[in-house]
């Protein structure tokens, strides 16, 4: 009986001009979003590849130079754009994908607080992720609001129940038929996406991208199903189709627009992100006066000098077998690293606290959960960014230390007049970055995944409860 209902539901939907129109618009939007996403990923990748090549040339070919000035000359680290970014650009456009690595400074890119202000409250770019997150629920609602309410209103429900149809079979069949109708839109879109992927990223796909893509599809399907269950529940409850659509549209506006907006505002109010001025003023202050009772820079410098003299058992800097200027540079480097760890650690703590609020809010808005899982699976989320930022910063420290060590060992007595050459540059440690694997993504995304699963289970139970009782009062008159 369930398949009979499903078949009839599908036939009726397919014959409905409004469905064909909406499905067409949705498919066109999705394809347009995928194509532009694709073009922009390729463009970014090409630009990065060109810049990387040129940057390597420039670094190695910089000529003779003092290593510390080479450290100021600096290098760039590029965040690889993951292929699935064509589905969900995530935070990449807000956080940026390159960072300049130089001595003393952890330069801002993603971590520039000014940009991060908007990073967590992104809206409105036409990516496939955006279309899926906002328009799938709307489409599902328009598909399903009349499932029971419409039939109740035009009397066919009464007639069906009079014929001896089981309400549970009606509910199951309707859910199945509407899922099929939804699949008729999503499956071709997913196939197109897969074809585009194969054609567009023949090389450099990366091992777990297929698994990620499949999971991404599963997540959006679960999201659609949660909204389908809710739509059926409301439709079973409402006396008229008009009531059902009104309630559901309110629900859509609340869960996809209002709650995310409010969550962002609440997160910002409870855990304010420092302005860039505040943030860097704090760092500058700590650099000159020291953290805690580490003392100001002159005191720290004197302490380091005494420590090195003791270590080598000599009385003056001139007697040292190594270049003290280089040691001192590395010393201040390490102290600034400590300061960065402190301040960026605080900043990340703030972000994580904001994230937690979003997670709580996702109990009221599945979009928040899906948005976060989607970005993480695509490799464009906050965690992915943090992973890259940490790797780049670790590399910066290694790179600067490499240059300071070279000056310390080979520049004895010459300090800043010591010149290194091509060989030293070429042997500098390369930046090799491996984005986090799927297991890491699933681990960091487990909260959001749990919330999504709760939504699916909860909405199904609620829906079941309402649909079961559809034979009740509303049909008697």
């Amino acid at each position: 009986m369930i398949t009979t209902v499903a078949k009839k539901e599908l036939t009726e939907t397919l014959r409905d001009g409004r469905f064909r129109w909406m499905a067409g618009v949705l498919v066109v939007l999705l394809l347009a979003a995928l194509l532009t996403g694709m073009a922009s990923v390729r463009e970014t990748r090409n630009a990065v590849a060109a810049a990387e090549a040129a940057e390597g040339e420039t670094w190695v070919g910089q000529g003779e130079r003092n290593p510390h000035s080479a450290a100021h000359f600096g290098r760039f680290a590029f965040k690889p754009t993951p292929p699935l970014a064509y589905v969900d650009r995530g935070l990449d456009p807000y956080l940026g994908g390159t960072v300049w690595l130089e001595a003393h400074w952890q330069n801002p890119f993603g971590l520039r607080p000014a940009e991060d202000r908007t990073a967590l409250q992104r809206f409105g770019d036409l990516s496939a992720g955006f279309v899926l997150q906002l328009l799938i629920p709307l489409f599902v609602i328009l598909l399903a609001f009349g499932a029971f309410a419409g039939e109740r209103e035009n009397g066919t429900l009464r007639q069906l129940l009079a014929a001896g149809a089981r309400p549970s079979a009606l509910a199951g069949g309707k859910a199945l038929g509407l899922t099929a109708a939804l699949s008729l839109v999503l499956v071709p879109a997913a196939v197109c996406a897969a074809v585009l992927y194969t054609v567009g990223f023949a090389q450099g796909g990366g091992g777990d991208q297929v698994l990620r893509g499949a999971l991404l599809a599963g997540v959006y399907l679960a999201y659609g199903l949660a909204f389908l269950a809710i739509s059926l529940a409301v439709s079973a409850w409402a006396k008229t189709a008009r009531t059902a659509i009104t309630v559901l549209l309110c629900f859509w506006v609340t869960t996809t627009l209002l709650v995310p907006r409010m969550a962002t505002d609440l997160a910002e109010r409870l855990h304010p992100t420092p302005t860039p001025a505040e943030f860097y003023a704090g760092i500058a202050e700590a650099t000159s006066n020291g953290l805690g009772d580490d003392g100001n820079s002159a005191e720290r410098s004197a302490r380091l000098q005494q420590q090195v003299l003791d270590e080598y058992g000599v009385d003056t800097v001139e007697e040292l077998p190594v270049d003290f200027a280089a040691i001192s540079l590395q010393g201040s480097e390490e102290y600034s690293n400590k300061i960065y760890d402190h301040f960026f650690g605080e900043l990340w703590t703030t972000y994580m606290a904001q994230e937690r609020i979003h997670r709580f809010a996702s109990l009221a808005s599945p979009l928040l959960a899906v948005r976060s899982i989607s970005m993480d699976l695509a490799g464009t989320g906050l965690e992915g960014h943090r992973h890259f930022a940490n790797a780049a910063e670790t590399h910066r420290r290694e790179f600067v230390k490499y240059l300071n060590d070279d000056m310390r060992d080979n520049g004895v007595g010459q300090s800043f007049s010591y010149m290194a050459d091509r060989e030293v540059w070429a042997a500098a440690p390369p930046f090799e970055y491996e984005p986090p694997g799927i297991d890491t993504v699933l681990e960091t995304g487990s909260n959001a995944l749990t919330v999504l699963i709760l939504w699916v289970i909860g909405s199904t139970l609620v829906s079941w409860n309402f649909c079961r009782r559809v034979a009740g009062a509303g049909v008697a008159s």
């Binding site: 009979t4 009397g155 066919t156 007639q159 009079a162 014929a163 001896g164 049909v475």
Partner: protein
């Protein structure tokens, strides 16, 4: 086949049905005649299990509706004033759907086309979308559903109101055929003429009570009419069969 025993329904202040006792035998057409608000629809809703009786029972083919709602409903067909169908499906598809949901599995299209033909919907009509049907055609699909699901009883609620006389007549003929095949028919109507035409017996309802029951072949039309009017104005006592014979003579 259809049986009500002291069937009573109260809505807050209104006693919509007051201890109705009624039996409709297989092959019999029983017309419930009454003005608006007499309790006809309430009676049918109770037989369909859409309402819980306040007291008493309604049973179909020996099954008490409240105890076996699904099985009981699978034995009846219901035709309301407006047979509501899916506009975007053809008559044939509608029939197939309602029959399948009545628990009769999927019937072959040729079977169903034959049923539709029997009620006067030829193949081209059967394959058109119901959105284009006249009211008479939709009522015929209702009858077709009853035939296809092999209903033992038929519950009709003002099925011919709003039909033109020709369609109305065709409908009556189909009802007669069904009864001829042993179906018990309970039809609510306020159309005295139709009740006398179609019914074997007519029950006059007023304020939730069956105030009189008459055999149509023993009463002339005018007598039924005057009796009905007297009941409506509350100045007639329930007639016995002998009263009827007196009235008829």
């Amino acid at each position: 086949m259809l049986e009500a025993r002291t069937l009573t329904k109260r809505f807050d202040q209104t006693l919509a049905l007051d201890e109705l006792d009624l039996t409709v035998e297989a092959g019999e057409i029983f017309c419930l005649l009454g003005a608006n608000g007499a309790g006809k629809t309430t009676t049918i809703n109770l037989f369909l299990g859409f309402l819980e009786p306040t007291a008493g029972t309604a049973s179909i083919d020996g099954l008490v509706v409240g105890d076996n709602p699904l099985e009981a409903k699978r034995k009846v067909a219901y035709i309301p004033e407006q047979v509501n169908l899916y506009r975007n499906l053809s008559g044939l598809e509608n029939l197939a759907y309602f029959t399948a949901l009545a628990g009769h599995g999927e019937r072959s299209d040729s079977d169903l086309l034959e049923v539709l033909d029997k009620v006067g919907l030829d193949r081209s009509a059967a394959e058109r979308r119901v959105g284009t049907y006249s009211k008479g055609m939709r009522q015929k699909v209702g009858i077709a559903i009853a035939i296809a699901k092999d209903a033992k009883a038929l519950l009709l609620d003002e099925p011919t109101s709003g039909l033109d006389p020709k369609a109305s007549n065709e409908f009556s003929v189909l009802l007669g055929d069904l009864a001829g095949r042993g179906v018990a028919v309970l039809m609510a109507t306020h159309d005295l003429f139709r009740a006398k035409e179609v019914g074997h017996r007519v029950g006059i309802m007023r304020s939730g009570r069956l105030v009189d029951t008459l055999s149509t072949d023993t009463i002339a039309h005018q007598d039924l009419e005057s009796l009905y009017l007297r009941h409506m104005h509350g100045d007639a006592s329930p007639s016995s069969t002998s009263d009827l014979e007196v009235a008829a003579s």
